[in-house]
């Protein structure tokens, strides 16, 4: 599975720990975080855009975004068509995000969760799969909404 991770300055330390954790498990992921030269000029929105575009275009299957609370990252990533970003602070939400909502971007807040809980959330997100079934038409409806918004069509029932 192709996975990409990104953080701004606040999330840097947790991002490094998650990279090391996944590396020790033999899971290679690409890091597209802000580098030290960029942190003075670029924000979490730029990282969210960088990662979301690549997931949207299919270069990666899953993305992981880390900032202080994860909130800004999840809002920014969700602007991209085809991106379903979930801010998870517990393992259950991470599983539901994949199984029910087919989320392709996990957002974490380094001020909310400690490192071990973050590892569990990441593990669960990566290992869980979309269940389809009754959840498929709902996810498809999200695509319909995206298309309708972009084409300014009326979509409210």
């Amino acid at each position: 599975m192709r996975i990409v991770i990104g953080s701004e300055h606040a999330g840097f330390s947790l991002k490094e720990k998650i990279l090391e954790y996944l590396d020790n498990k033999g899971c290679q992921i690409d890091d597209l975080s802000l580098n030290p030269d960029e942190t003075s000029t670029l924000d979490y929105t730029h990282v969210a855009a960088r990662i979301s575009k690549k997931v949207m275009e299919g270069e990666y299957e899953l993305g992981i975004l880390i900032c202080g609370t994860g909130i800004g990252m999840s809002i920014a990533a969700g602007k991209f068509p085809g991106i379903r970003a979930a801010l998870c602070t517990n393992e259950f939400s991470a599983r539901m995000a994949r199984e029910h909502n087919d989320c392709n971007v996990l957002c974490l807040g380094t001020w909310n969760v400690g490192e071990r809980l973050a590892y569990q959330i990441v593990d669960t997100f990566i290992l869980s799969s979309f269940q389809g079934g009754r959840h498929l038409p709902r996810v498809n409806h999200i695509y319909d909404i995206e298309k309708a918004v972009m084409t300014k069509k009326d979509f409210i029932k």
């Binding site: 969760v113 400690g114 071990r116």
Partner: protein
């Protein structure tokens, strides 16, 4: 209010964050350690904080280790102590209002500093509500006498 705060090696960083919060709120506290790389076992710190409450008239205690679990288990062995692991604000509030827990235990590997600070903030301003809860807490005290 006078608080005793302690952590094992995993909890040192979060303990410093909570101390800053207590200072901002002008709350009197004593840091019982650990404050160095010296390896310490969490039951030693839990015992020190628990005894501050039962023997030295401290009002409350805060204990931090990796998960908060070992600290709470150890502190609860001390007669008269009720310690609760809380990682959400509602539990932190109820541990005071319903259970009259004097000790808040937290896991530095579980919660980030912002969540920990909000837990402590709510816990600090929550007081035991008495009433029906008093009867239940009294039954906990009776369990301590069970042979």
């Amino acid at each position: 209010m006078k608080i005793a705060i302690g952590a094992d090696n995993l909890g040192i960083g979060l303990k410093e964050e909570i101390k800053k919060l207590l200072n901002e709120k002008n709350i009197e506290f004593e840091d019982v350690g650990v404050n160095s790389d010296e390896l310490i076992d969490y039951p030693d710190i839990a015992k020190t904080v628990a005894l501050k409450i039962v023997k030295e008239n401290f009002d409350r205690g805060i204990l931090i280790c990796g998960t908060g679990i070992g600290m709470a288990i150890a502190a609860n062995k001390v007669k008269g102590i009720r310690a609760a692991v809380c990682h959400d604000v509602y539990s932190a509030e109820r541990s005071r209002k319903s259970n009259n827990a004097q000790i808040l235990a937290m896991g530095a590997l579980i919660v980030g500093k912002a969540v920990a600070k909000s837990l402590v903030t709510v816990w600090l301003k929550s007081e035991f509500q008495g009433g029906g809860s008093a009867r239940k807490v009294e039954k906990i005290c009776q369990l301590e006498e069970q042979k």
